[in-house]
Symmetry: C2
Subunit: 172 residues, 2 copies
């Protein structure tokens, strides 16, 4: 029983013919992570849009919901992997839609605290649950063995990557 090749296997085989001297083995991990992320997004974002948020807004609202509420824009910024400008813009839009509020910080007037409104909380709780549902859907063809293999491996990768140089991304 020969398994059908996945796109990365195919790509590596093609490169092998053109540049046999190159070691393309890193694509097994890197190529697949990037590809899988793209495909997963494509599949999962439909559900979010249906709830009225795109992936970035969803991530931001989730971060807000998970963390002890009044969070500074700067912290949101480091939790998400985006530019400061993007975070500012998203906060503004979500505030206009009444999903979150900015409360000026007493002690440091450069900053402000951002918190979910009641409406925002309700929306994200619903969207998060539906998103989990959708995730179960896409992962269902994957065996438990494979799942834990991926989970463990990527956890290790993330720890090694986020330790080095990247913006301080300690979950708290």
């Amino acid at each position: 029983m020969t398994r059908s090749p996945d796109p990365i296997e195919t790509a590596r085989a093609q490169w092998q013919r053109i540049h046999p001297e190159l070691d393309t083995s890193t694509l097994d991990v890197v190529g697949r992570v990037l590809r899988a992320a793209a495909v997963l997004r494509q599949r999962l974002d439909a559900t979010l849009l249906d709830e009225g948020v795109n992936r970035s807004e969803f991530d931001l609202l989730c971060a807000l919901r998970r963390n002890a509420e009044p969070v500074t824009p700067g912290r949101l910024n480091s939790l998400m992997l985006a530019s400061g400008a993007a975070t500012t813009k998203r906060i503004q839009q979500l505030a206009e839609r009444g999903l979150l509020e900015r409360v000026p910080d007493e002690h440091d007037r450069r900053s402000a605290r951002v918190g979910l409104t009641e409406q925002g909380r309700r929306l994200i709780d619903r969207a998060f649950a539906r998103n989990l549902e959708a995730e179960r859907g896409v992962l269902s063809p994957l065996g438990n063995r494979q799942r834990t293999a991926i989970a463990r491996g990527l956890a290790e990768l993330l720890r090694s990557l986020e330790g080095t140089s990247g913006s301080a991304l300690t979950g708290r």
Copy 2:
């Protein structure tokens, strides 16, 4: 020796406190894939920019290099995970920069064949090699065990995902 938690572990623990009834286990895979992709991009794109291409342009040129040369825009479009409009725009820009050429198709004048120029070929060969180098760099802290675990697991995931419903993405 307790391992430091990775960001997804942290997130799950936080959700657990807020919504103990939800099964967030899918985040172990989905959350990590998305997160890892974001971090990997951040780390690797610097090298590409240094070669004068962004990730999308790089992917497009790679696809062109790997496949038997005269490729239709439509095929490029399905190889990459993007909208038709995006592909059109990228082809135009890369053509203006002299990295690829559009040759009208004899048999079907709706379409055209896209092929690398000599300059494009040189650029992508250099960029691809340097990108591999950079990938080796980011993966170096990861043990071989973990690598193959991730690779095998994600290959399985990709096969299961790209089979269903997604645009026809057979590597050839």
